[in-house]
Subunit: 358 residues, 2 copies
């Protein structure tokens, strides 16, 4: 299974199948990550919401299942301080929900588990030596990048525009994820600009990023079956990143309500919304998205918006309501085939190779 029309990515990562599992906090625990890597793709462990110890434990579990290449994924956002006025303004926008669900608006919200990459995580990477380290929302500073590369890791990151791709290449990225508008979850956008200005579709983004950089490009957004993989290669990509199509695998840690929502997702069921975390991310339209969003003019900055919503979400979910549940998903959810991740990865690869006809 080595006859891909472009082998730069499989050679760079030392993998057999040019499929990267998207790092997804709700689903990509050790069982899903190790299954994709074991099948020959690249599993990605989302570490942004894990403490150092949790990340080490998860990585160790993956290593007990497979010795093949694995990626650790981190966020590179600026971590905001809690601003009481912003928090209060955001709570005010949600006041009717606190009333309706009988949740105490004045109870202190939980702390966000989401952290930005820094020296502590870098030391963990030096300890664990994953084959690949991937970033969302930019890159760490030059000295941390040098430490990562010194471990032998390949460093990749998401670009949502040609300008971001050039920025990432100039700062040493070994490959670039061209994340199209269709992708589920957070837009990786990090250069200045509005949310609306940075919405480039996968079909237009991939070839323009390929033309702009010399490193291999990984197409992300709307890739969910063999047709998508073949199309990504036709556009000049050296591989794909697939998220939504893996969400419903039995190895995924996806909660039951999320799994059920995905079963009904069609091409137009998702929107970009900032109401869950403060940053635009694609997910299925639930009540708070329809009523406050999709793009609220003012929320708390990322990731704090989610802490204010957390008690509402917990109460609603305890009552069987998904009103405040973020069901991240891309626009090609309906193309996903539900099967174990190992089999899915192998099948996607063999069907794509057949379509590509090499």
């Amino acid at each position: 299974m080595s006859s891909w029309p472009d082998t730069r990515l499989v050679e760079l990562f030392g993998i057999e199948i040019p499929i990267v599992l998207a790092p997804m906090a709700s689903s990509s625990g050790p069982p899903l990550v190790s299954a994709v890597s074991h099948a020959g793709g690249l599993g990605s462990l989302p570490c942004a919401a894990l403490s150092i110890d949790q990340a080490r434990d998860a990585f160790t579990k993956i290593r007990s299942q497979t010795s093949l290449p694995v990626s650790m994924n981190f966020f590179c956002h600026e971590q905001p301080a809690v601003d009481a006025q912003q928090a209060s303004a955001w709570r005010e926008q949600l006041r009717s929900y606190f009333d309706e669900f009988g949740v105490d608006m004045d109870a202190p919200p939980p702390a966000s588990p989401i952290r930005s990459f820094g020296a502590d995580y870098c030391a963990l990477v030096e300890e664990l030596k994953p084959a690949v380290v991937s970033f969302h929302f930019g890159l760490p500073d030059v000295s941390l990048m040098a430490r990562l590369h010194a471990t032998g890791a390949k460093v990749i990151a998401s670009a949502t525009t040609v300008a971001e791709a050039r920025w990432l290449e100039a700062r040493g990225c070994d490959a670039i994820v061209a994340q199209g508008f269709e992708a589920g979850g957070h837009r990786g956008s990090f250069l200045a600009g509005t949310a609306t200005a940075q919405q480039v579709g996968t079909f237009a983004l991939v070839p323009q990023v390929v033309d702009a950089v010399n490193v291999p490009v990984i197409a992300a957004g709307g890739v969910a079956d063999a047709r998508g993989i073949a199309a990504a290669f036709a556009l000049g990509a050296s591989g794909v990143q697939i998220g939504t199509a893996y969400l419903s695998c039995p190895e995924s840690s996806l909660p039951a309500n999320y799994r059920e929502a995905l079963r009904h997702a069609g091409d137009d069921s998702t929107v970009l919304t900032n109401v869950f975390t403060g940053r635009p991310a694609r997910g299925i339209v639930t009540r708070v998205v329809a009523e406050i969003g999709p793009l609220a003019a003012q929320t708390q900055p990322f990731p704090l918006a989610s802490t204010t919503l957390a008690p509402l979400r917990a109460k609603a979910e305890s009552l069987g309501s998904n009103d405040f549940s973020p069901f991240w998903a891309g626009q090609a959810a309906a193309l996903a085939c539900v099967m174990p991740a190992f089999e899915l990865t192998r099948r996607l690869a063999s069907e794509a190779l057949e379509r590509i006809g090499v």
Copy 2:
């Protein structure tokens, strides 16, 4: 040049190359339309802003250049009556521009040349017998559809969601243009829903439409080079519709300021905006888009918003300003190769076939 991996569209239309020229009012006059058809693709004459006599003249000019298949394109929107209150509210939003450019706000605006398809245009189709009739914003009623089909014409229309594609197939469309979010110009959306809910990217839309209907699917949005054509076929399309890449051809009637703006368009230079006509359409960000849009909460209904802007645009353009000029373009403008349309069509086809490798 007949070895396309899917020949349903070329057989349906009786053409050699499965490339449809997008109908573009600013550029697709007889020279461009006839060049694409003469090369073996399908030229499309945009008739929505042409009177019966103008459309007949244009079609006759095309026929003098080529006897190969040609498409006539019409709009199927509901034509609104002018509402004085809506017009006044929209003018008020633009008041500072009328002041700045010294344009009389109280002068009666011109009538819109844009008309919806009806019995008069149907009679013209019966007279001229184009090989294909294409629609944007839905389809005409059952009796007009029957008259069109009785001429021998194939009828196609744009879908921006799977639901719209199913609707079009059920009403007798012979092929469906799956118009992704990346496409320049007006979104063809016609089923109820908001502008934001119907933004499905080409990469996700095409395979889901292919799965939903039995008729051939034409991929539109972000297709501008041979990579895009190969990718469209990989996604299951039977052909492509290309617009932006033809705008700069020497045969295009594009004004010089528009041509110049296109030269600088990058992946993230365009947005969906309703400020020019009242309906969401993708174009390059110019001043009025940045300041009033991109999606104004209230405009005049399509197409009347443009009539209020018309005197501002005329005055600004006379002063060399593009502040109010609608430069429709898709997200892949930067991939376009400027060359004559005949050569471009043949080259896109031969390069795509080479990439597809059949």
